[in-house]
């Protein structure tokens, strides 16, 4: 259906030239899901743009993009208008940003139906309701009149999918459809695309930087690096035994819930100005030799591989990844032998509640409902949960940015905000106390002031502490070395930094004041996979400091497993399970933890020790916690007791879980109920 032949795109702008795509060839057949993977900057989005004929200004394309026997590159305006939507429809990366904010989502879908399926408006509205239902939107009639800002991330992505399928396209392109979604939603959304291919016979092109998470639903994958196809083949085989060193590096840099160490690949993707004469991966490749540096490998079928597996490499690898002792640094798994109990307590939270009151009148959002935590010096605590579970509120609470409605929070012996019934510091003493806890933010570039140089940003906590200029410079230099950043970066501004550099600067800023506690709030979720691996290496090194405590917040279970000592699972503002990281991940006790682990992508397709897939039956937003266990509405093991009785943390072996059925669950997971 879609066949891209020798597509090259060069973007010429005054003063610079970028070879965005070089000699790309691949095809998508009807009913097939093809994954297009690679780091950002690899040209994935450019391929999508070329397919719909929306290349940026100043770009010059050669080759052919054949869709249903017509070359998209040669189409005129009229042909393009028909091709867009009806021929190819894109699901955009950021669904909430790509939906028009001033039009109800129902109207937006009706627009597409009327345009492409020639329906009258009233029929289209009926069809829109059915489409909403088909993509798993509950109470679709009501959602038709919702505006995009009233939808959650997952819901917006479903609407986006319905918009794209509503155009009745032959080919559906999904650009990073699951970025920013948590594990349970990711699976659900990806299943929607598989569904579109299976039932409607559409071709689907899934674009992602995360090979592991999309591989499950793909028939074939195409790996892009620096605008070239380095490997393509059947998804299952490529995922299990990738042959190209880049594919292997890509997979190895993804943390795995199974506890396999992350291996960071040093360096970054080159920005090509012309079509490469050598292997573009040569600088970062562990197997590179002179041939790689001199000639560009041609794309050839893999010897002895299954049909359609081809790659461009002089040194194809074999065997499952992780088996060979690869070079570069591996993150050491946290050493459980270090007993943190003996150390002094740095962070102590005692039965903290946080309620965000609405601006007028009564009501409000109960973000945390009775959380108690203790983190000792030298210990790293992982906090996981779906989005909306109160993770970020917990971070703010620790940092003293919100005050608890009831309960107490102490950092290094001080309370940082006004708390009910407790003395709190003021003025200079408060500022001093606040420097003891530091935060590393989710958005690395956005959390640096755009008008300050890196040097100013890093030295900021020191200036607050009143250090002299010379002392500041020395401390900044020291922390810069530790982050492996070059001195020349000091005079740069945030927009001149890459995501990885910016996050290193963010960590440096948190570290420079030698705080007792560092809170990492999803520090890697905005980064590319290979950069993610590099940052995780840095973080694991920082959290290994003996006299410092760390809290690592993430919706990605695998990253937490890498170096946390203990892990806490949050659900709707409550801790549902906590314990040593290996115990919780290998023997989860709470059904919610089991479900999280089950939906986490796993290389090689094996399931974890947690047992067979436990699946939650509904979306988070539809579960209301009134009485009883907050998970009751979604839990497959729910009984009447769960609906009426509040659950409290109870010790089960080395960990604690808030579920009274925990002991019997192991037996139940095999024959789990399908209806709530």
């Amino acid at each position: 259906m879609l066949s891209i032949e020798n597509l090259s795109v060069v973007i010429r702008r005054p003063g610079r030239q970028v070879a965005a795509l070089n000699d790309i060839t691949f095809a998508v057949r009807p009913g097939e899901v093809v994954g297009l993977v690679g780091e950002s900057g690899g040209g994935k989005s450019m391929v999508a743009r070329a397919i719909v004929g929306l290349l940026p200004d100043g770009s010059h394309a050669t080759g052919r993009v054949v869709f249903d026997d017509a070359d998209v590159l040669g189409m005129d305006e009229v042909a393009l208008a028909a091709h867009r939507g009806r021929g190819v429809a894109i699901c955009f990366q950021n669904p909430r940003g790509a939906l028009s904010p001033t039009r109800t989502v129902g109207r937006q879908l009706v627009d597409r139906l009327v345009t492409h399926q020639n329906m009258p408006v009233d029929r289209a509205r009926e069809a829109a309701r059915e489409l909403f239902e088909a993509v798993g939107i509950r109470s679709p009639q009501r959602r038709l009149d919702a505006y995009p800002h009233e939808l959650s991330g997952g819901m917006a992505q479903r609407v986006m999918i319905s918009l794209a399928t509503g155009c009745a396209p032959g080919l559906l392109i999904a650009d990073e459809p699951t970025t920013g979604l948590d594990v349970t939603l990711t699976r659900e959304i990806l299943r929607q695309f598989r569904h579109a291919a299976d039932t409607d016979g559409r071709g689907v092109l899934l674009i992602s930087h995360d090979l592991a998470s999309i591989a499950e639903v793909c028939d074939r994958v195409v790996v892009l690096y620096a605008g070239t196809v380095v490997e393509s083949g059947p998804a299952a085989q490529v995922l299990r035994e990738p042959a190209h060193p880049y594919t292997r590096a890509l997979l190895r840099s993804v943390p795995d819930v199974g506890g396999r160490p992350v291996v960071a690949t040093a360096g970054a993707m080159p920005l090509l100005t012309r079509a490469p004469q050598n292997c573009p991966f040569v600088a970062r490749c562990g197997h590179a030799d002179d041939t790689c540096a001199a000639r560009r490998p041609t794309t050839e079928p893999l010897a002895g591989g299954p049909d359609g597996w081809s790659l461009a490499c002089f040194h194809p690898q074999a065997g499952p990844i992780g088996a060979e002792p690869e070079p570069v640094r591996a993150i050491p798994a946290a050493d459980p032998a270090v007993g943190p109990q003996a150390k002094s307590t740095v962070l102590e939270i005692d039965d903290a509640h946080v309620v965000y009151r609405s601006r007028f009148g009564s009501g409000g959002h109960h973000a945390l409902r009775g959380v108690s935590l203790r983190v000792a010096a030298g210990e790293t605590l992982g906090v996981v949960g779906e989005s909306g579970c109160g993770k970020s509120t917990l971070a703010k609470l620790v940092m003293g940015l919100v005050s608890p409605t009831s309960g107490a929070v102490t950092v290094a012996g001080h309370s940082l905000v006004r708390q009910p019934g407790r003395a709190h510091l003021r003025g200079r003493a408060l500022r001093q106390a606040r420097t003891r806890a530091q935060l590393v933010f989710q958005d690395p570039i956005g959390s640096l002031s755009p008008r300050r140089t890196v040097a100013d940003s890093i030295a900021e906590p020191l200036r607050a502490a009143g250090l002299s200029a010379a002392e500041r410079a020395a401390r900044v230099a020291a922390v810069l070395d530790r982050m492996e950043l070059d001195r020349s970066i000091l005079q740069r501004y945030p927009h001149e930094l890459s995501g990885g550099q910016a996050q290193r600067v963010g960590i440096a800023r948190a570290l420079v004041g030698e705080p007792d506690l560092i809170v990492f709030d999803e520090p890697t979720s905005a980064l590319d996979v290979t950069v993610q691996a590099q940052i995780l290496t840095v973080i694991s090194e920082v959290t290994a400091d003996k006299d410092r405590a760390a809290v690592f917040i993430s919706h990605d279970l695998a990253t937490v497993r890498g170096f946390a000592d203990r892990v806490v699972v949050l659900y709707l503002g409550r801790i549902v399970e906590e314990g040593p990281v290996d115990v919780v991940f290998d023997h989860p006790r709470h059904p919610y933890t089991m479900a999280l682990l089950a939906s986490a992508p796993r290389l090689g397709g094996g399931t974890g020790a947690g047992g067979d897939a436990v699946e939650l039956v509904k979306d988070l937003e539809e579960a209301d916690a009134t009485t009883g266990c907050p998970l009751a509405a979604r839990c497959p093991f729910v009984t009447d007791t769960c609906r009426t009785q509040q659950q409290h943390l109870q010790p089960y072996g080395a960990s604690r879980a808030a579920c009274w059925r925990a002991p019997e669950l192991a037996a139940l997971t095999g024959k789990q109920a399908t209806t709530p």
Partner: protein
């Protein structure tokens, strides 16, 4: 329903604001140099005459007493007696507000429509000759002083072409229009007076045009900027990539998103237009509110100044309230 509650709440907030205005203007006019009694009595009046006049207008009372009397009057709807004319300020103002509001409302409405149409058209042809032409014209219009433009329009429209009536008054007296609201066009429509409608409309053309040219530029610039922003935004690109037809794109995805930011600016422009009418009214002998307020200020006619400032403040607050409501209707993300 929520909007209604919002309006009621804002109207309640209006009370302290207006009270503040009342106190401030009362004090300010009395702090200003100049004596209203001297200006009406002329050069040859004796001290005794002046004292008598002061007693007549209650100006010999202590300040707090005057203020209480003024407040008591306001509550009963009595704005006091004009020192200059000796007439009731409330009655004089009622005659004057209608014509000016008619002028400003029509002018700002036309300016808004023109700015929207031209701004969107301009944005869709960004950096092409048509776009540049419109922007230069708007800039010129904005740079020309109102009174001068008014004079030029009178010269061209009345003296040279003879298409429009002479710049004196608001309606032809021969049409025997019965004044109701003071806004002549509305009165003419209400009384069904055909000739008066035509006459009032003809008289309106030149002053309205003068005001429109003066205020359209900032509106146009704002519409063009937000339309460009929408055109380059992700939602619009997404709608375009899904192959929606141009009409749907324009009305469904561009227009409303573009107009979201306009109401607050329009409210500001409305305020400016009320200010600009003083000169325009002079040029066209409009006998409106601006002229009346200005004369009151020049003669230190305390009750007139107080009443006119209160009136303008009320206009501002109401217009901003309307702008907020319109904004909330246009932008679903706004919570009110």
């Amino acid at each position: 329903m929520r909007i209604l509650r919002f309006v009621v709440r804002r109207l309640l907030q209006l009370i302290p604001v207006l009270l503040g205005v009342v106190v401030l203007t009362f004090l300010l006019v009395r702090v200003l140099p100049g004596d209203p009694v001297r200006t009406i009595l002329g050069q040859n009046a004796t001290e005794a005459d002046a004292a008598a006049a002061r007693a007549r207008f209650g100006l010999d009372q202590p300040l707090w007493r005057q203020f209480l009397d003024y407040l008591r009057g306001l509550v009963t709807g009595d704005f006091g007696t004009s020192i200059q004319s000796g007439g009731s300020v409330g009655a004089e103002m009622a005659l004057r507000v209608g014509p000016t509001l008619e002028l400003v409302v029509i002018a700002v409405t036309i300016a808004l429509v023109a700015a929207t149409v031209l701004g969107v058209w301009s944005a869709r042809r960004a950096n092409r000759p048509g776009d540049h032409g419109i922007r230069v014209l708007a800039l010129i219009g904005n740079s020309v002083p109102d009174f001068w433009l008014g004079l030029v329009l009178v010269l061209v429209g009345y003296s040279v072409l003879g298409w429009f009536p002479a710049p004196s008054g608001r309606v032809d007296p021969d049409t025997n229009l019965t004044p109701l609201t003071g806004a002549d066009l509305i009165d003419a429509v209400l009384t069904g007076n055909g000739p008066a409608i035509a006459s009032a409309a003809a008289y309106l053309v030149l002053p309205v045009l003068t005001l429109v040219v003066g205020v359209v530029a900032p509106l146009l610039r704002s519409v063009r900027a937000s339309a460009l922003e929408v055109l380059r935004s992700e939602p619009y690109a997404a709608a375009e990539a899904h192959g929606l037809p141009r009409r749907t794109l324009l009305y469904g995805y561009l227009l409303r998103a573009t107009l979201v930011r306009l109401p607050s600016l329009a409210a500001l422009v409305f305020g400016t237009a009320i200010g600009s009418t003083v000169l325009v009214e002079y040029v066209y002998s409009w006998q409106g509110f601006g002229q009346w307020a200005l004369r009151g200020l020049l003669y230190r006619d305390y009750p007139v100044v107080q009443a006119s400032v209160l009136m303008i403040a009320l206009c501002y607050v109401v217009v901003f309230l309307v702008a907020d409501v319109v904004h909330a209707i246009l932008d679903p993300r706004v919570r009110i």
